[in-house]
């Protein structure tokens, strides 16, 4: 990663998976490039707002905690998303507060008890070179920075925006790990390719998230959704949140790095407001779909 004059942050431990993310790169889907960007855009925006950054400044999206950073200069940091403990040189703090970190101090995230992805923002935003207008790492297309690794040095940008007066927010707790998550959907674009019973199955049965889920898609096991039209669908454009139903019954909820087109019919799409919730669902957790 490039380093230049100004504040820098060094990655000490990247945890399971830590990626730079921002608002993503819309506008390139016709060339085979998805939006990418933060999976939980609400958590990204909140972390940035707490520090007076623009809402889509680059942040670190870390999956299941474990990330540790060293601030080479004094900086302000906020962690949002899946709630975690945040130790600053061993001293215990919590996510969802603004932390003033002194130079040389280490910031270490614990593991979330619930939720999946935490977001680490720094005042000024992480300033790596943008690719097609975005600093997001796209796991499908390979565009954007590589996943973070120990020793990476990240430049920190600057901002003239004022900081908000409050330095603490009360997060809405994500559901407990054992709870089923409720995701509102709208039927279509291809619900007519399924038997009417399939709509009922989707709205009444429990689907369980499997460990092979990633930013490309949340994959689930559950009852099959009976098809009415058995033709092969000609590949067509798909949106983030689309529920693609291959004949085998492995329902896939397309995430930010989804392929731009899909060849299986999409029975329904998760409402945009619920995508941040979908981004926090853990493997083994149940999902229930509701209409609305």
């Amino acid at each position: 990663m490039n380093s230049r004059r100004g504040n820098r942050v060094t990655v000490v431990d990247a945890g399971m998976l830590s990626l730079l993310q921002d608002g993503g790169r819309p506008g390139y889907a016709h060339l085979g490039v998805s939006r990418s960007g933060a999976a939980d855009t609400a958590a990204m925006a909140l972390a940035n707002r707490m520090l007076g950054n623009v809402e889509d400044a680059a942040v670190i999206e870390t999956t299941n905690g474990g990330l540790a950073l060293r601030c080479e200069q004094p900086c302000l940091i906020a962690v949002t998303g899946a709630p975690v403990t945040v130790r600053v040189d061993g001293r215990r703090h919590w996510s969802h507060e603004v932390l003033a970190v002194r130079d040389g101090q280490e910031v270490a995230l614990g593991m979330p008890a619930h939720g999946l992805r935490s977001y680490v923002a720094v005042r000024g935003g992480f300033d790596v070179p943008p690719v097609l207008g975005s600093r997001a790492t796209d796991r499908l297309s390979g565009l954007g920075p590589a996943p973070l690794a120990p020793g990476d040095v990240l430049a920190v940008g600057t901002t003239d925006l004022p900081r908000p007066a409050s330095d603490l927010v009360v997060p809405l707790p994500p559901p407990e790990p054992d709870d089923d998550v409720e995701l509102p959907v709208r039927f279509g674009p291809r619900d007519d390719w399924f038997e009417p019973a399939a709509r009922h199955v989707l709205l009444s049965e429990r689907f369980e998230v499997t460990p092979d889920s990633d930013r490309v898609g949340v994959r689930m096991t559950g009852p099959a959704l009976p098809r009415r039209i058995h033709d092969e669908l000609t590949s067509e454009g798909v949106v983030e949140g689309a529920l693609q139903a291959p004949p085998g019954g492995r329902l896939t909820l397309f995430g930010p790095d989804h392929p731009v087109t899909g060849g299986y019919p999409v029975i329904a799409v998760v409402r945009a407001r619920a995508l941040p919730i979908a981004a926090q669902v853990r493997p083994g957790q149940g999902v229930r779909f509701v209409q609305g």
Binding site: P26, G27, Y28, A29, H30, L31, G32, V33, R35, V131, L132, S141, L143, V185, R186, G188, P189, R190, T234, S235, E236, G237, V238, V239, E240, G241, A242, P259, V260, T261, V266, A268, V269, V270, R271, A272, R273
Partner: protein, 206 residues
């Protein structure tokens, strides 16, 4: 008049146009209209997906706009033609020739003899699904996918031809390769091929 678009949640409208040329005419007209809040216009073989940012524009507004879209001028515009030099030295050339009932020269003549059109892009950045080529060149994918297909490989599968923009796994039948870069992330226009472009393959022998 195309059927009413199929809604895709809060952010998408899927237009069924039934024909790839109509897809590109609609895409061009919509691009020219430059609607604030329309973030992506995604052509596929016979559909067009319009993606919006619901914070900036309403679905109803875009639906009305699509109904009233004048595609006449865009439909009449001549497509760009991109020529791609190819060395026909691919590992599957002989197999393709046998499958299509041609000899290798016949496959090359068929592949270069008729212009292709970029039906849509997908699979990888800059991977263009080319349609409208010689109908004799219809081949199944390989029974077993290759772990590595080199960048620049020129290939066939189903009704499509394509050039692999970068090294990747792939199950298409390889006819040859080109040195022409298909994708440059740092370029203002990163993809050599854009949906709707016409593509002519030209044989070169080094």
């Amino acid at each position: 008049m195309p059927p009413a678009p199929r809604p895709c949640g809060d952010t998408g409208l899927l237009l069924e146009l039934g024909d790839n040329r109509r897809v590109h005419a609609h895409a061009a007209a919509l691009r020219a209209a430059d609607v604030d809040g329309v973030t992506d216009i995604v052509p596929a073989l016979d559909t067009l997906l319009v993606v919006i940012d619901p914070a900036r524009v309403s679905m109803g507004h875009v639906e009305t706009l699509l109904r009233e879209l004048d595609v006449g001028e865009a439909a009449g515009a001549a497509p760009r033609t991109i020529e791609i030099p190819v060395q026909y030295d691919g590992e599957d050339l002989a197999w393709v020739a046998e499958h299509c009932g041609l000899d290798e020269r016949g496959v090359i003549a068929a592949h270069t003899g008729k212009p292709w059109r970029v039906g849509f892009c997908g699979f990888a950045p800059g991977f263009a699904y080319l349609v409208g080529g010689d109908p004799r060149l219809k081949v199944p994918r390989r029974a077993e996918s290759r772990v590595v297909v080199p960048a620049g490989a020129v290939a066939l599968a189903g009704q499509f031809s394509a050039v692999y923009p970068r090294r990747s796994p792939g199950g298409w039948q390889l006819l040859g390769h080109t040195d022409t870069p298909m994708w440059d992330t740092d370029a203002e226009q990163p993809s050599l091929l854009m949906p709707g472009d016409q593509v002519l393959f030209r044989e070169v022998t080094r």
